[in-house]
Each structure stands twice: as C-alpha cells, then as structure tokens.
Symmetry: C2
Subunit: 82 residues, 2 copies
C-alpha cells in the first residue's frame, strides 16, 4: 500500500458541508478499490482541495474520485512523510 | 490560529533524511513566528513536498520556511478540513 496526496482545483467557494459530502461519497465506495481516504483540506478562496489517501495505486484513487463525481487534477504518490 | 498547506516544487530526488532535516530546521525556529509544522509529505519523483502547519498567517509560515532555507512555492490557508 502506498500513500497519495491528490489535488483538486476549481473548487472555489466550497463549503464545509460540500467537503464533507464529497468525502463521504469517496468513503462509501473506497473499499471497491482497496483505497482509504484519510484526510481532506480545502481552501475555498483559491478553490484548492487536498486529499490524503492510502491505496494500491494512483489509478485506484482516481477511479474512486471519478465515480464519486470529483476527478482529481493531480495525484502524487508521497512515498516519504513525517 | 489558522491551518495552512504549503507546496514546494523542484525537490526531485529528496530523500527521507533530507525531508527530516528540512522539517527539523523548521521546528527549530517555528516558535519565533508562533507557527507549528505538523506534517510533511514528499513525492521524490515529481519533486513535490506538502507541509501542513498552523499559525497566525501565511506570511508567518513563509518567513520560517525562508529562514530555514526552503521558501514555499505556494501557501494555501485551508480553512476547512476533515
């Protein structure tokens, strides 16, 4: 299993409710790809959302995000962390 | 206090030791600006590093990173998180 940070742009104005709903939509189906979404952070002003996840591949993470209706713009495998 | 995600590009090939040293350099002086660096994640392949911090402003976070020798390329206040 690897860890991933993915980034969504163009989420300007996202609310706490919308962030929670989007995260719940990922959690509801993440097991299909053996992925787990751990955390998410949003900057409503610039419209940037960061998601931290664990899973077998970036493609698996993206498939969950796509099915949940919010494809990531970037996904980076973060093999180092503190 | 607010929470921030900052991003460093051009860190291609960063090692676990280098990430730890950079993080320690931030921790050593963070109190000067009432900032705390909580986590850091690195993708050595693309050269991207993400740092999660808490502090009074993006400028305060940047001052610590600059003094520690690694100015951030982007700093986003992440006012929402899960």
């Amino acid at each position: 299993m690897a860890q991933f940070m993915d980034v969504h742009h163009d989420m300007r104005g996202i609310t706490a409710d919308q962030l929670r709903e989007a995260h719940q939509a990922d959690l509801a189906i993440e097991k299909d790809e053996n992925v787990h979404f751990e955390r998410a952070w949003a900057d409503p002003e610039s419209g940037t959302v960061y998601c931290l996840s664990e899973g077998p591949s970036a493609e698996a993470v993206q498939r969950i995000h796509e099915r949940a209706g919010h494809k990531a713009d970037e996904i980076h495998e973060v093999s180092l962390s503190i």
